[in-house]
Amino acid sequence: MTELRYWQAINQALAEEMEHDPLVVLVGEDVGAPGGAFGATRGLRERFGPERVRDTPISELGIVGLGVGAALAGLRPVIEVMFNDFLTLALDQLANQAAKLRFMTGGRAQVPLVVRTLVGAGKGTGPQHGQSLEAWLGHVPGLSVAMPATPADAYGLLRVAIRHDDPVVVFESLRQWNVRGEVTPGELPGLGRAAVRRRGGDVTLVSLGGALSRAMRACELAAAAGVDVELIDLRWLWPLDWACVESSLRKTGRLVVVHDAVGFLGPGAELAARAAERGVLTAPVVRVVPPRTPVPFSPTLEAAYFIGAERIAAACQEAVRNG
């Protein structure tokens, strides 16, 4: 057990996997000499050499495509796309190539590609750097989507992603970037396993990625108000750990979802839909999620946009009131 910051945990996971497997390479804008725009790849170029740690041009489509080809030719590339807002430029290679190659070749091709990308939500980054587009990737058959919220998961989920034989997109959280936490070296959590962060019997609160800290505070606020919340940190949008969510719902009958993605057609929609399909609800679902607007730049508006702990707690209490 060592205590690391979120970004240090990423750095450690990359270092260990590159140490473990010479076929792991890092490719991205500023990942080499500068050590990453936000420091996550610091020291890796010096340690593993310029062949395996490559600074690239600003060519998101090109470098993700390069990753697809490298993966087909035997490497395990980790491509960094600075902010997930820039995935918009690389989606053909991600959604039409990487994601579909195994299927399109009748199961023969294998694309062990990892794309690391950052969610700027909550840090005043504005409309084009503050989105959380995990729902897009989750909608694409053939892609797995990880959303680590803690240093332990920033480390563990990334290592799992690198060892997975199919493409994985890892959404890292700028909001959590400097958060400290315990990391257990060598730990490899299961692919697609959610984590129950708090046990409770009244309401099931599902949180994705960077929403976790607010969700935890909301649990305390709700508890103070006499509502006992079970908090599930989904960790993976796909594979989806529905079993974990459903077993909690069979206990509580109430679902509240919180995430930083736009609510309309966001991750919460799928969770609510499954709950409605399984008929496990005693109360209406509540999604505490951003409205269908871009992310505002103004810090006060942004704070309101990304729903605070108070409103999350209120949603849990509302769920209890309504059945």
Binding site: E51, G69, T105
Partner: protein, 326 residues
Amino acid sequence: MSGRDPRGDLARNLYVVQLRIRRFEETVARLFAQGRLPGFVHLSIGQEAVAAGACAALREDDVITSTHRGHGHCIAKGGDLGRMMAELFGYRDGYCAGLGGSMHIADLERGVLGANGIVGAGIPIAAGAAYAFQVRGLDRVALAFFGDGAANEGAFHEGLNLAALWRLPVVYVCEDNGYAELTATAVHTAGPGVAARAAAYGMPAAEVDGTDALAVHDVVARAVERCRSGEGPTLVVARAPRWHGHFEGDPQRYRSRAELEQVRREDPVALLSRRLLAERWADPTWLEAMAIEIEAEVTAAVAFAEGSAPLDPEAMLRVAGVEERP
């Protein structure tokens, strides 16, 4: 008839490959016209010399990325006609178990990383394969086929910049057939042409007659040599007209009868057969024998395909790694 003259051996091999592509695609055209093949089919008849010449310059462990017009590339790289044909039928013994179809045929054992339904997508993918060879210290080469129209995609620019920047062992072969779908090259490509774009990246370029398989082979062989000796990528532009429509069923209103007749006069298969005889690399009996042999190969391929059947849905879900529905 071999060994005495390496040039002759090469020429005969190129002829066999071209003829195999020609007969395979003529058969595909007939089957499609009979309504026996689903989806879109894009044929390369008229352009066979590019696929044959370029792939003849590669080793078996080199890789290619292909396009929506990719049958010739796969055949030239040693692809199996039966599994290709079965894929066109959408049957389980096809290269992709019938899940991909014409635009996605791949043969990873033979280094065919896949045809592609997305124009230009193979360009950065080939750079990536070349990067893998470079990192792994292998002297293998990647080659990307793409059309004149693909040279206007951002992927072309980003891919060539990366390849040149990192001196990757990749050869870019542009098959310039004068059209992107139904639109002539001059309408969609600014400047002096695709070859002139290599200079923007400090990359050498070569233009070659795409109906002359030997010429294509020689140009690509030099480019491959540069790759293996660490000198980096080359852009090769091979001009060759397609005879058929953009896809089977395309009435080609955008081409004059004169043009359609003219292009058939530049028949790469006929050109090479005349050359074989002129250079005494082959005699009429050999040509005769080859015609019969390849006819048989293609007939066998169709029989193989007809003997297959679609995958069942459950097996498909297993291939996709999905058991449950949402």
